[in-house]
């Protein structure tokens, strides 16, 4: 599944010019940045409530496929610009983390079963 497909299936709002053709191979959900640096995997989509520019460095270093910000939180313009320059799509959902994780989990599972 690509980021573009995920956006369509879950009704996410794409907030910047990221690379939406990137393939998603799994998901990591965490609000602690060192935890993502330690345990996130290349190609994972990252679900978080963090919105400041440090998330871009984390996603870029780990080669994550994108960032989904939950709870409809306002995302700093600098974060969106930096992410676009690193080709990382940043998406927004009004859902809280628990619900978003559940939806992504089910979608990726179904996708595997096909």
């Amino acid at each position: 599944m690509t980021v573009q497909e995920l956006i369509g299936r879950l009704g996410l709002e794409l907030k910047n010019n990221g690379c939406v053709e990137a393939a998603i191979n799994g998901c990591y959900a965490s609000d602690m940045l060192s935890d993502v640096l330690a345990n996130g995997k290349e190609g994972n989509i990252w679900i978080t409530r963090q919105t400041h520019p440090n998330v871009v460095a984390v996603a870029a270093i780990k080669g994550l496929s994108g960032i989904i910000v939950t709870g409809g939180r306002q995302i700093e313009a600098e974060t969106l610009e930096k992410a676009a320059s690193e080709c990382i799509p940043v998406m927004s959902t009004p859902l809280q983390t628990y619900d978003m994780v559940g939806m992504v989990y089910n979608l990726l599972l179904k996708n595997e079963e096909r």
Partner: protein, 176 residues
């Protein structure tokens, strides 16, 4: 603040413009030393050093997983200066197949390095936690991803991390 810690003199803070390059520093030759200043409490320069390092290593054709390990070390060390210290700098030196990342700051220093290395130990203030830092995993992340880590710290004076990465051996990767 030249002072003698466990490993001798703590490098004095060198004030240079971001990204300044200096050839053959510290008596070494052939390498390129690149400096990035860091200020306590100020995230605006966070990641500048690790980002520059990523692109330099990519240009040299270093394998992606080695670049990732080096960038994790550099970024966690940068963040530690910003969160825990007054001011400092990151510089890195690529000499042949060896990368040395040196991150040095002007204090407060670490009283018990063994305790600081424990996963989950943190003295991070609330403002850092709000930004998602302060899980007490930074130094353990550096240790896990470096081929060698030397921490030299004098309470009241400052801390220097010297991180070594062997650029030629992806098989040394501590993380898949």
């Amino acid at each position: 603040m030249a002072s003698s810690g466990k490993f001798g003199r703590i490098r004095p803070l060198t004030v240079m413009a971001q990204g300044d390059k200096k050839e053959g520093l510290d008596g070494k030759t052939g390498g390129q030393d690149i400096y990035f200043p860091l200020n306590g409490g100020d995230f605006s320069d966070a990641g500048a050093g690790s980002k520059s390092l990523r692109s330099e290593l990519a240009a040299l054709g270093v394998p992606a997983q080695v670049i990732r390990r080096a960038a994790i070390c550099a970024f966690e060390a940068e963040i530690n200066v910003i969160i825990h210290a007054v001011a400092g700098s990151l510089h890195y030196l690529i000499e042949g197949e060896t990368l040395t990342i040196t991150v040095t700051d002007m204090g407060p220093g670490i009283a018990d390095i063994g305790l600081a290395m424990k996963e989950g130990y943190t003295t991070a203030p609330d403002w850092a936690r709000e930004f998602g830092w302060g899980s007490g995993m930074g130094l353990p992340n550096i240790k896990k991803n470096a081929d060698a880590l030397v921490i030299d710290s004098v309470p009241g004076e400052g801390t220097t991390l010297e991180i070594t990465i062997n650029l030629a051996s992806p098989s040394n990767a501590r993380q898949e």
